[in-house]
């Protein structure tokens, strides 16, 4: 029982840590798509932010400088995406692909030029990272059965950015459903002509949404290189931007369900790492690759309409042209 409890707690703890950047990136995608801009460049923005954050943290020896750099570069990339898709009505998917490929190359190129370590950044000391925050009393209640384990492992002991990720969920819910900006955001993704008729600038709204998107992706990338890891490694996002995109779709473009999807995908990841080579009762050994592919498979099944119906914002992917 005790061993099993420790296993459960450590799995949940890992789930929360793995899901945090996914939550941030999924919310970032949510802002973009709710405004009518498809963003498959989440991956690229996260990767760029991860690199910038690690580089700035190392040079300035401060995690906050890293966060600033990460968020700035991600917002700039989001604005480039906006410039192409909103101002020049370019193809949103093409623009996203361009940003992903550009960043994948640029981070390594600059990494080699600046740090000469094969595309990595030097590893960060603890001052230059976001370290785990130990909540008051965590050590004291550690040995209390059940509640102690839950409190010390699952609630306490994560880094600041992880808490930011989970706080961003209710915040996003409030922004999207309870503010004037949120109402307009949802409207511009469904029917931009109506928003335009009401005298509100579609362009301005979509740019604002892209800034929100870039901001959140920036935190997600910073989390990867300065909180979860101690430095940048080539292609360290490894598809997490796409998993976040899948999670956003899986959560049907809503904040709380998107977070749940991220937690589910994070849980699958945590489980995959734990059952590698372990034979399960009844089914035998489950291939790790199957569990790793499950987020993608589940998303395809959802999109196919076999588990509920995923309906994207109506105007997403379509540039808005005033006066046809």
């Amino acid at each position: 029982m005790d061993e099993f409890f420790i296993l459960v707690v450590s799995t949940l703890d890992a789930t929360i840590r793995v899901a945090a950047p996914l939550v941030l990136a999924a919310l970032a995608g949510l802002y973009a798509e709710r405004s009518g801009v498809i963003d498959i460049g989440l991956e690229g923005k996260m990767l760029a932010a991860a690199f910038a954050a690690a580089a700035a943290s190392f040079v300035m020896d401060s995690a906050w400088a890293g966060l600033l750099a990460g968020v700035s570069i991600s917002v700039i990339l989001a604005l480039i995406h906006g410039f192409a898709c909103i101002t020049h009505k370019g193809n949103q998917v093409v623009s996203g692909v361009a940003i992903n490929i550009l960043v994948a190359g640029l981070t390594v190129t600059l990494g080699i030029a600046w740090f000469a370590q094969g595309g990595q950044t030097p590893s960060l000391t603890n001052d230059a990272r976001f370290s785990p925050l130990i909540w008051p009393g965590a050590q004291a209640v550690k040995d209390v059965p059940f509640i102690g384990g839950l409190y010390t492992e699952i609630i306490s002991g994560h880094n600041l950015l992880a808490y930011v990720a989970y706080l961003a969920v209710p915040l996003t819910w409030w922004v999207v459903y309870r503010t004037r900006f949120g109402l307009r955001l949802r409207a511009v993704g469904e029917n931009p002509a109506a928003v335009d008729t009401a005298g509100i600038s579609v362009t301005a709204l979509r740019y604002q949404a892209m800034i929100c998107c870039g901001f959140l992706c920036g935190i997600a990338g910073t989390y990867l290189s300065t909180a979860q890891n101690a430095g940048f490694v080539k292609n360290m996002t490894a598809g997490q931007g796409f998993i976040a995109l899948a999670a956003m779709i899986f959560g049907k473009w809503k904040p709380v369900p998107a977070m749940m999807a991220c937690l589910l995908f994070g849980f699958l990841d945590a489980v995959a790492n734990r059952i590698q080579g372990v034979s399960m009762p009844l089914v035998g050994e489950i291939p790790v690759q199957l569990i790793q592919a499950l987020p993608y498979i589940l998303t395809v099944i959802l999109l196919a309409g076999f588990i509920g119906k995923a309906v994207a914002p109506k105007a997403s992917g379509i540039p808005y042209v005033k006066e046809r």
Binding site: F83, N91, Q92, V97, I101, V103, A104, A113, Y296, G305
Partner: protein, 377 residues
């Protein structure tokens, strides 16, 4: 297509504006090379010599070009139907799986003359099958093809890792690779083929699949512009509603276009598995599927354009690899940067300079016609 294209002649629209877009991409690439402290002009010189200066370099350049032609054609065929196939990566991977499975089954029992057509069919079938599912879901269930093809890239990758680690791995080996195929089943390298005619060139991975790539260009041209299917594909891509009124079933056309597209991407497996590696291995397709998007955009979805764009990217790949020996700071990843910038400028920002060019052209025509009327007057 757009209403304003009547203001400028065709050569400006299809020649000058794309050229300016690409030059802007190269200009920004040059700035980045300057930023990391190297000389861009010198880099271009080394790059061109590395790609075209020796027969060894040319061999590599054309070998890369072969892959780009396949994935470029794949993206282009889907584009003609108005579909964005960014699953070329996964389709190429699974196409290679098809070739590998055929070879593992028949390499010792069949002659090369049968191995080649079987491999071509296997790579096309497997690639097409991997594209069929997203196509079906788009046509009949309304799932967004961009998202599903992205998902299928990752699913393909997981599937291949599983198969190579657990099923197809050569017994007693640590690295996830299949056994090597019998040497009689290898597609001849170019240096071997030319040796039959007494011409001797340096060894390179270039093999006979480049001829298949050229044949595919001709076939795709004929398919898109000279067959009923191609006509229907272009009609659906241009206006799906009008296509329905013309009696075309867009659902069937979506599936047709995606299967052709997937099959073409699958041919990367032909070049890599049958032509070069002679065994199944991981990540042989890495990057070519995405590069196909840049190739198709630059080549304006036309086979001739795709050949030129593929040569350009082949040059960048091979020249970039050589460049990293002379300029350690400029690595293969710099090519990715150029690729990303090309997609950005000639894809996403394709329309950015058009209004400016139109305005300049209007001013020039006004000035010249004004001068002419002044002379006449």
């Amino acid at each position: 297509m757009s209403a304003s294209s009547g203001n400028i002649p065709r050569w400006v629209d299809v020649g000058l504006i794309p050229l300016i877009n690409i030059l802007m991409a190269f200009f920004v690439s040059g700035l980045i090379i300057l930023l990391i402290g190297e000389d861009p002009i010198e880099a271009v010189g080394i790059l061109l010599y590395g790609a075209w200066g020796t027969d060894y370099g040319i061999g590599y350049t054309l070998y890369y070009t072969t892959n780009f032609v396949f994935t470029g054609l794949a993206v282009a065929v889907a584009f003609h139907a108005g579909l964005f196939n960014i699953g070329g990566e996964g389709q190429a991977y699974i196409g290679g799986l098809g070739v590998g499975l055929m070879l593992l089954a028949f390499d010792n029992s069949l002659p090369l003359i049968l191995i080649v057509p079987i491999s071509i069919m296997a790579s096309a079938l497997f690639g097409a099958a991997w594209a069929y599912i997203p196509a079906y879901l788009q046509a009949y269930r309304g799932s967004h093809i961009v998202i599903t093809t992205i998902m299928f890239n990752f699913i393909a990758s997981a599937l291949m890792v599983y198969l190579l680690v657990n099923v197809l791995i050569q017994p007693g080996q640590m690295s996830p690779q299949s056994r090597e195929f019998a040497e009689t089943s290898w597609l001849p390298f170019m240096h071997e083929a030319l040796a039959w005619f007494g011409i001797s060139i340096t060894r390179s991975p270039l093999n006979l699949s480049i001829f298949w790539a050229l044949i595919c260009c001709a076939l795709v041209w004929a398919f898109i512009w000279r067959t009923r299917w191609g006509y229907e594909i272009r009609t659906v891509g241009f206006n799906e509603t009008a296509a329905v009124y013309a009696g075309i079933n867009p659902k069937k056309i979506i599936i047709l276009a995606m299967c052709v597209s997937g099959g073409l991407a699958g041919f990367v497996g032909l070049n890599e598995i049958l032509g070069v590696h002679h065994r199944l291995l991981l990540n042989f397709q890495l990057g070519y599927g995405f590069a196909g998007i840049a190739v198709a955009l630059m080549g304006r979805n036309h086979p001739i354009g795709i050949i030129f764009a593929s040569l350009l990217f082949g040059t960048l790949y091979q020249g970039g690899a050589e460049l990293s020996f002379d300029m350690p700071k400029v690595t293969r990843e710099m090519v990715e940067v150029v690729q990303g910038l090309v997609i950005l400028f000639s894809g996403a920002l394709a329309l950015m300079i058009k209004p400016t060019v139109e305005r300049i052209y209007a001013v020039i025509t006004a000035v010249t016609s004004g001068r002419r009327s002044a002379v006449e007057g």
